[in-house]
């Protein structure tokens, strides 16, 4: 018991000390690389890169909940769907400008996530995973239901057309939207970083590491847990709205339970409890299924499974964990 607490203290301290300063060199490199993508590659690759960025945002949302607050969710496809449908319905039914729907998708999801977080407070671990699973399974059916059909377009889904790129900007559609998504991602990453390294972030992690100790230190665990749920849903909702705009179409079949699982895989592969690991998680869930299909169409899931097992085996703490390990080895060598 004592040993256990010691480890937790060390972990918390490491987060407190290491996380506080932004490594500007690395960030500048990352931003520079990110900005060159749309000018180096063709439209399809830029589209894929945009999807990676969108998945990275959604995975970061899930990571805030699972990695930093210790609550499991298999229901993030539901929030992604709500964000996507918010954008599509606002554009279709109320003629909102596309750009405005992105933050609105996030806000609607924040409310939905916060409200869902309240009853979910009573559930922990596996039970919470099951409750969120129920949410993921229910949402596509609700979207199809005849009562909402006038709004959601039912099984047929909704088209959503992007306005053309403003004339004074010499970019094509793919490049323009990639840069928008990339910018939003940077903004959200920065937001997450500030959140994690604030008083609230420390409270979130304290709840994850030892809820009883956290409560006895005066942290309002219920409030923080619900709020984290809301913020997590906010991130995923923004990703959903962006996704709807990039794909230019939403349908209930776009947001099945499988999406939740993919986000979860992205979270684990990227590394729980890290912020930038989400980018790698996004790459993994977009590119590896394609790669698996190239190897064998009939056995693509089997190939995907094998790759996943190998990755988990080689990088038990995710990609971010592997990089941290290598960096610390390098430092020791010096």
């Amino acid at each position: 018991m004592t040993a256990n607490i010691d480890i937790n203290v060390e972990k918390a301290e490491k987060n407190l000390l290491d996380g506080r300063r932004l490594n500007l060199k690395w960030i500048a490199l990352f931003v520079a690389l990110g900005l060159t993508v749309p000018f180096l590659f063709d439209g399809y690759t830029v589209f894929q890169a945009t999807m990676v960025v969108i998945y990275a945002i959604a995975i970061l949302g899930l990571n805030l909940l699972t990695g930093f607050n210790g609550q499991f969710s298999l229901g993030h496809s539901a929030f992604y769907a709500i964000g996507a449908y918010t954008a599509a319905v606002l554009v279709n039914q109320l003629d909102f400008p596309v750009y405005v729907t992105i933050p609105l998708g996030g806000v609607v999801c924040f409310v939905a996530g916060f409200l869902f977080g309240l009853p979910a407070l009573r559930l922990e671990g596996l039970y919470l995973a099951l409750a969120t699973f129920a949410l993921a399974v229910a949402v596509p059916q609700i979207l199809k239901s005849s009562h909402l059909e006038g709004l959601t377009g039912g099984v047929q889904g909704l088209d959503l057309f992007r306005p053309s790129v403003p004339e004074f900007i010499p970019l094509n559609m793919d490049q323009w939207w990639y840069l928008i998504a990339f910018g939003i991602m940077l903004l959200l990453f920065w937001g997450a970083w500030n959140l994690i390294n604030s008083r609230s972030g420390r409270a979130m992690m304290a709840i994850r590491d030892n809820p009883i100790a956290a409560r006895s230190m005066g942290i309002n665990t219920s409030l923080y847990k619900s709020l984290t749920f809301g913020v997590s849903a906010f991130y995923t909702g923004i990703a959903g709205a962006l996704g709807a705009i990039i794909v230019e179409f939403v349908a209930p079949d776009s947001f099945t339970f499988q999406l939740s699982i993919l986000l979860f895989i992205g979270l684990v592969v990227g590394g729980t409890g890290t912020i930038w690991g989400a980018v790698f998680g996004g790459m993994f869930i977009l590119l590896v299924p394609n790669f698996a299909e190239q190897i064998s169409t009939g056995l693509s899931y089997a190939v995907f499974g094998v790759i996943l097992i190998l990755v988990i085996y080689v990088m038990p703490s995710g990609f971010a964990g592997l990089v941290n390990l290598l960096l610390s080895r390098l430092r020791k060598l010096r």
């Binding site: 063709d42 439209g43 399809y44 690759t45 589209f47 894929q48 999807m51 239901s145 005849s146 059909e149 039912g154 099984v155 047929q156 889904g157 088209d159 057309f161 996704g243 794909v247 230019e248 179409f249 939403v250 349908a251 209930p252 079949d253 776009s254 099945t256 499988q258 999406l259 977009l286 299909e293 169409t297 009939g298 693509s300 899931y301």
Partner: protein, 405 residues
């Protein structure tokens, strides 16, 4: 003298050669994905995920192209069929379609499966002016040449089937009084819309009762009772399998004996007629457009033997009882026909022009069913054969009902 003659001949021959070469190069016009020896065709299919059963269609079509290639290809060009998995997820369909169009550089997209998945790329392909041919879905929206000139469906749409049932009633039933049960959504309404349109002015006179149900309703008993009480002598059942089976049971239980028309969504023996009781399901009429490979009558035909031989050689893992293998086989032949008609002018524009200029029969179709299109008619199959369930299987009765003139 001799030398002069020789020279002249050589000159003439040379001139002739240059001329033919010039003619040939003038005739040959290639869009993306076409060379002298190959044509690239793109496709998306759910090989994984909830709708993976439909993947059979993609495999069957690929097997048909393999046969065409083995026999020398289309006008000497081999079909390179690139079929990617979209898992029935619309965002994935968009990604894979963009990959096929922008990276693989396919000439056209063909036989994409599913309504939501095709919807996700409908606008994109029309914007890019890439043909989206013979999509495997029953929705009505794939045949709008004015709005979406690059998209064409294949199988009869729900609306077309509704029209054909109307034709059938007009041609075969005297003093028809129609009662309709339908599912209250796009699918149900498409059928009603088709039937009303075809009946025209007669619609309000002939259709004396319409009852709808919601997918969430536990039973449809009260609707059936109302329909019976209306005095209808034709019952048109536009319900999905579970409700269709309930309807059959209830109709027989009430000892109501109308002419029973059943939509093709629910004409499966295993999923509907068996649960409803084979005896109860006797005499129910539905519409089909291609042969049922499980029927003994079919298995006697030349068409079936040809199909079975192809299955054995090119699709040996395929199930001879699976109708999807017929669907993929027939649909692929439609594309091959379009490519043949294109000749050496394999541009995207010409592909659409030829796709809108089809008139032919395929051997596994029921006799009289045709593929017919025109620049204003983007619904290739608009004829179906009425079949009656005899307690074991549906048997063709009478002649094909068709919308073509």
């Amino acid at each position: 003298m001799v030398t002069g003659k020789k020279l002249a001949l050589t000159l003439v021959a040379a001139a002739g050669l240059t001329l033919t070469a010039q003619l040939a190069s003038a005739e040959k016009m290639y869009g993306p994905g076409v060379t002298d020896t190959s044509i690239k065709i793109g496709n998306t299919m759910p090989y994984s995920g909830p709708a993976a059963a439909y993947g059979t269609i993609g495999k069957a079509s690929a097997a048909y192209f393999a046969k065409v290639n083995a026999e020398g290809g289309v006008n000497g060009r081999k079909i390179e069929f690139i079929s990617l998995d979209d898992g029935y997820s619309p965002p994935k369909t968009k990604e894979q379609t963009r990959k096929l169009v922008e990276q693989e550089g396919v000439l056209l997209m063909y036989e994409g499966l599913g309504t939501p998945t095709n919807s996700a790329v409908h606008a994109y392909l029309n914007h890019k002016k890439v043909p989206q041919l013979f999509v495997a879905t029953g929705a009505t929206k794939w045949g709008q040449p004015e709005k979406f000139p690059w998209t064409m469906g294949w199988q009869p749409s729900y609306q077309t089937e509704g029209k054909l049932f109307a034709r059938y009633v007009k041609e075969n039933v005297k003093d028809a009084k129609i009662g309709i049960l339908y599912q209250n959504d796009d699918y149900g309404k498409d059928y009603i819309h088709g039937m009303r349109e075809e009946l025209g002015d007669l619609a309000d006179k002939l259709i004396i009762a319409e009852e709808s149900y919601e997918v969430t309703d536990p039973t449809i008993n009260s609707q059936i009772i109302k329909l019976k009480d209306s005095g209808a002598n034709v019952f048109f059942n536009v319900a999905t399998p579970k409700f269709a089976a309930q309807a059959i049971k209830k109709v027989r239980e009430l000892e109501w004996n109308p002419i029973f028309l059943n939509n093709s969504v629910s004409n499966s023996v295993g999923a509907v007629y068996k649960p409803a009781g084979l005896e109860n399901s006797k005499d129910i009429i539905s519409l089909q457009y291609y042969m049922d490979p499980t029927a003994p009558e079919t298995q006697q035909t030349e068409a079936y033997k040809k199909w079975a031989a192809w299955m054995k050689e090119y699709n040996p893992d395929g199930d001879l009882l699976n109708t999807f293998n017929v669907f993929g086989y027939l649909n692929a032949q439609t594309l091959v026909k379009v490519l043949e008609q294109c000749g050496d002018e394999l541009t995207r524009e010409n592909v659409m022009k030829q796709a809108a200029n089809l008139d032919f029969e395929i051997d596994m179709f029921l006799p009289g069913v045709k593929v017919q299109t025109s620049p204003t008619d983007f619904y290739p199959i608009e004829g179906m054969m009425p079949v009656q369930f005899n307690g074991e299987r549906p048997v063709p009765i009478g002649k094909v009902v068709t919308l073509s003139k």
